[in-house]
């Protein structure tokens, strides 16, 4: 059964019209996945020409038959080399006059051929569509989040002296895959002790000891959609007073964003909620990253919750909220959930 979504097709048609285009070339693997509702071939092996009269695809011939069966409404041809030339030929056959390609994603070698054929540059048209998620996408993101939350409940029971960071990483992956995840959103972070003070720590063979902070930052992919959560806990019964203090500040910052982020705010305005609280508590300079990032088919997508993003966060935009405080060499705390924007504020994805 075809997974082509008429809502997405109509939206792209609209954008083309606005840009006075009658054809657009889609090559990016994740853009294709978004558009077709499932992964096609391997990255770089398929190109779609979306035009005013329909869709055309040039795909590695290995996939041609199954693709035709899956998407009868797309005119598909097998093509094992020079897919850019094939697309140009088809555009000429269709008599398309205003065709554009995504110059922010198209590889240079192919872009040069398209530009040579008189195609225009129109960067990021699909990127802009992808920020606002459909119900189908939200459903899969919820499923991905549920697996990650269950994994946290599972893994926290496995904290015991002597276990290594890598062992817990492996257990997280095993658990999530057995719950239906197809892959990890990214390599999981499990950090013990001073490792938590580094926001991009790489797990290793560090062993857990009593009275150490532990940070988990991980997520999984379910039906192509990513989840991403972070939890920081203390292992042992004597948490360092400063750890307790910064954990409280970080969780408050996180909860304030959840309660106060409104429809109509920009990424920068939402970021300011968390940053303002952490600054007021005196830890501003230890919050060394953005409050959040867009998420969807990829773990990091457009729609940052950061000081630099002046764009409004629209309806059904999905993003992480993950304030943190890092005392380098000592320890750090981060707390993260993913949310989506509704008319009545942001809602957690779970």
């Amino acid at each position: 059964m075809s997974k082509l979504d008429n809502v997405k097709i109509a939206a792209l048609k609209n954008i083309l019209k606005k840009n006075k285009l009658n054809g657009y070339i889609i090559t990016d693997f994740n853009d294709l996945k978004y558009f077709l509702g499932s992964a096609v071939a391997m990255p770089g092996e398929a190109v779609i020409l979306f035009h005013s009269k329909g869709l055309y695809m040039a795909v590695r011939s290995l996939y041609e038959a199954s693709f035709r069966e899956q998407f009868p409404e797309i005119k598909t041809e097998g093509c094992d080399a020079d897919r850019a030339e094939q697309i140009i030929k088809q555009a000429n056959r269709l008599g398309l006059k205003n065709v554009a390609f995504d110059s922010s994603k198209e590889i240079y070698a192919a872009g040069k051929i398209f530009a040579g054929a008189g195609f225009k540059e129109a960067p990021g048209l699909i990127t802009a569509l992808r920020v606002s998620k459909t119900e189908y996408e939200l459903k899969n993101m919820r499923a991905a989040a549920k697996i990650a939350y269950a994994a946290f409940e599972h893994i926290r029971k496995r904290l015991k002296a002597g276990v290594t960071e890598m062992e817990l990483c492996a257990e997280l992956e095993r658990f999530m895959k057995h719950k239906g995840a197809s892959a990890l959103s990214f390599q999981s972070i499990v950090a013990f002790g001073a490792g938590t003070g580094n926001p991009h720590y790489m797990p290793g063979n560090v062993k857990l000891k009593k009275n150490m902070p532990v940070m988990f930052d991980f997520g999984c992919i379910y039906n192509d959609y990513c989840s991403d959560i972070t939890r920081t806990v203390w292992y042992g019964d004597k948490p360092a007073p400063e750890f307790k203090k910064i954990l409280k500040i970080v969780r408050e910052a996180h909860d304030m964003v959840a309660a106060r982020a409104k429809y109509g705010m920009s990424g920068a305005e939402i970021d300011a909620i968390a940053r303002g609280h952490i600054e007021a508590a005196g830890y501003g300079k230890y919050f060394t990253h953005r409050t959040g990032h867009g998420i969807g088919l990829e773990p990091h997508e457009r729609g940052d919750i950061s000081q630099l993003n002046k764009e409004k966060i629209g309806l059904n935009y999905c993003f992480s909220v993950e304030p943190g405080i890092y005392l380098l060499g000592k320890f750090g705390v981060r707390w993260e959930d993913c949310f989506y924007m509704t008319e009545s504020g942001i809602k957690i994805i779970n």
Binding site: F101, G111, A183, N198, M202, P203, H300
Partner: protein
């Protein structure tokens, strides 16, 4: 985890030999390979590498880690490709280059305007020859998966579903020290083996049944890939044994004939020709004989029809002939091998 600069040094030697003043590394797979690091997103970091220096353009957030993990890079707090071109200008570097297949059009245009040359495939060429530290990790991943097969055979019971059997196999690999899976395990019972890309389901293992399992794990970022087909029970179907023997012999023939200097298609033909001679079976061998692997499960070289890539010492690839009879039976036999001066060495062996 402290990174190693072995891969970077090796790449710098290649640049020097080819007279390239500087190379802009813009795709994250190449960045992660050369930096021996794991950046998450496509544009989390770029590199500029000269025969004697290396810069990493990234966010300050990553730089904090990188300065400790990979001290051989000078970190620049920027993700603007124009700053890479500016660095080349600042140091008056001649003959800078980029890969036109691994960069977006906008950035490529900017580099062209700054006088950079197009140079395709140079990182890929470095990546396909595995360095000793990489081989050690691949070997470990291979040992784990081969050992897992032995343990799995002793534990497999009639009545298990494909899904449950796959889970059992994966658990064994983790218990042997795997740090991840190389790809989703294929566990096919009975006629399901005839579909080379079978998705595991609830089909239960019968008392007398064919099993095909294609799986692999990762160890510290490096992959293994192995397939075993066997008969579960005491009375293997005649057809199964016959096909298995042909496939296994085709596999062995590839091991025997592989040597540096052959092309991918020449080695592929060894398996294909063997099957044809064994009774006109080549038409049931519907995929390539093998593929390279390393930090990704599919890398160069391709051991398949029309592959002109030359096989070289230090390459790691699979040898995986198979025969498929739709709706009836499928058999594939696969090992991960290392090509040495003396020929192919199987890495997927238990200790």
């Amino acid at each position: 985890m402290k990174s190693s600069d072995e891969k970077l040094r090796n790449f710098q030697k290649i640049l020097k030999k080819q007279g390239i003043g500087a190379f802009a590394v813009m795709d994250i797979a190449s960045v992660n390979y050369l930096a021996d690091y794991k950046f998450m997103g496509q544009s989390d970091a770029f590199l500029l590498v000269t025969p004697s220096q290396a810069w990493c353009f990234t966010k300050e957030l990553y730089a904090i880690t990188l300065r400790r993990a990979a001290p051989f890079f000078k970190c620049v707090n920027s993700l603007n490709p124009a700053d890479i071109a500016a660095k080349v200008k600042e140091f008056k570097i001649k003959s800078a280059a980029f890969d036109p297949g691994l960069i977006d059009y906008i950035s490529g245009n900017m580099f062209k305007a700054a006088g950079f040359k197009e140079l395709p495939g140079i990182v890929a060429a470095a990546r396909e020859i595995k360095l000793p530290s990489e081989i050690a990790k691949i070997r470990k991943a291979c040992r784990i998966s081969a050992k897992a097969y032995e343990i799995f055979r002793r534990k497999l019971k009639t009545g298990l579903t494909e899904t449950a059997a796959a889970r059992m196999l994966e658990d064994i690999m983790y218990s042997l020290g795997a740090t991840g899976l190389a790809f989703p395990t294929v566990m096919a019972f009975g006629p399901n083996g005839a579909n080379p890309h079978h998705a595991n389901g609830e089909r239960k293992l019968k008392a007398e049944d064919a099993v095909l399992m294609d799986y692999g794990c990762t160890y510290q970022g490096y992959c293994s890939d192995i397939t075993r087909s066997f008969w579960h029970g005491k009375k293997p179907a005649k057809e199964f044994t016959k096909i298995y023997d042909i496939v296994k012999a085709a596999h062995d023939e590839v091991i025997k004939k592989a040597k540096p200097g052959m092309s991918g298609e020449e080695l592929d033909a060894v398996a294909r020709n063997y099957m044809e001679k064994a009774g006109g079976f080549a038409k049931y061998f519907i995929h390539t004989t093998g593929h390279g692997l390393g930090i990704e499960i599919h890398e160069a070289p391709r051991v398949g029809m029309k592959s002109k890539q030359i096989l070289k010492t230090g390459m790691v690839f699979t040898d995986e002939p198979g025969l498929y009879f739709e709706g009836k039976l499928g058999v594939r036999y696969e090992n991960t091998v290392l090509l040495t001066k003396r020929g192919a060495k199987i890495l997927t062996v238990g200790e």
